[in-house]
């Protein structure tokens, strides 16, 4: 079974530019999550999809961040325009529906975003 994949692995952009991160969850996982770890801080929740619907986006920092999950498969996270404080590692995770299997979340390797 293929794991969660993320693309790109590393992105360096200038302040004011736009970047789009992509996540491919494990096949069959309805739940998809985005998290972020900024330097020196803990991993923080950004948002949660169930299939193509946003279930919880309480962690999204501001309206410069836009997440989509068209067709309930892969997801994209766009940052536009990027600011210096957006630098960090963005993780995607997927899971089965809690209560119908295990509760564990499977994480991708992350995308390291550097805004200069």
């Amino acid at each position: 079974e293929a794991g969660v994949t993320q693309f790109p692995s590393h992105s360096v952009i200038e302040k004011g530019q736009t970047v789009t991160l992509r996540c491919d969850p494990i096949s069959g996982h309805d739940n998809l999550y985005w998290y972020r770890r900024v330097m020196g801080k803990e991993i923080k929740f950004l948002l949660h999809f169930v299939k193509e619907s946003k279930q919880d986006e309480s962690g999204m920092p501001n309206n410069r961040f836009l997440a989509e999950r068209t067709g309930g498969t892969y997801s994209t996270l766009k940052v536009q325009p990027a600011e210096l404080e957006d630098s960090g590692v963005y993780f995607c995770a997927s899971s089965h529906t809690p209560g119908q299997g295990s509760y564990e979340q499977y994480f991708g390797p992350g995308t390291r975003l550097t805004v200069t």
């Binding site: 999550y33 991993i43 919880d56 962690g59 993780f91 809690p98 499977y106 994480f107 390797p109 992350g110």
Partner: protein, 113 residues
């Protein structure tokens, strides 16, 4: 405010000894507590989940305890090996759904040969 603390940023132990990591939380009432392992350049990997009505959970050389009165979880690795060296993260669900996870900052464990 809600807070999760892991006992130390770094822990060094000798191979063969038992490593004990601590996770304390305040102002939460989690239904589940999870432990993850993270290696450099990788995403977190799930290890164990313990429910609020469980005192202890074991998996091979790993053991987790959960004390909801003390608001504390202990994570033990027995007969530690250099391959156990990694950062270990505890994570709580926010609303009992095991969905949105709140992570501690992690403890970096180094097992010395």
């Amino acid at each position: 405010s809600q807070k999760i603390e892991q006992n130390s940023e770094a822990l060094n132990i000798q191979e063969g000894k038992t490593a004990t990591l601590t996770c304390n939380y305040t102002n939460y009432s989690p239904a589940y507590l999870q432990w993850y392992r993270q290696d450099p350049g990788r995403g977190p990997v799930f290890l164990l989940l313990i429910r609020e009505n469980e005192k202890e959970k074991r998996k091979e050389r790993l053991k987790v305890t959960f004390d909801t009165t003390l608001k504390q979880s202990l994570f033990h690795i027995t007969a530690s090996q250099p391959a156990d060296s990694a950062t270990y993260l505890c994570a709580l669900d926010v609303d009992g759904s095991a969905r949105q996870l709140t992570f501690g900052s992690g403890t970096q464990l180094t097992v010395l040969p």
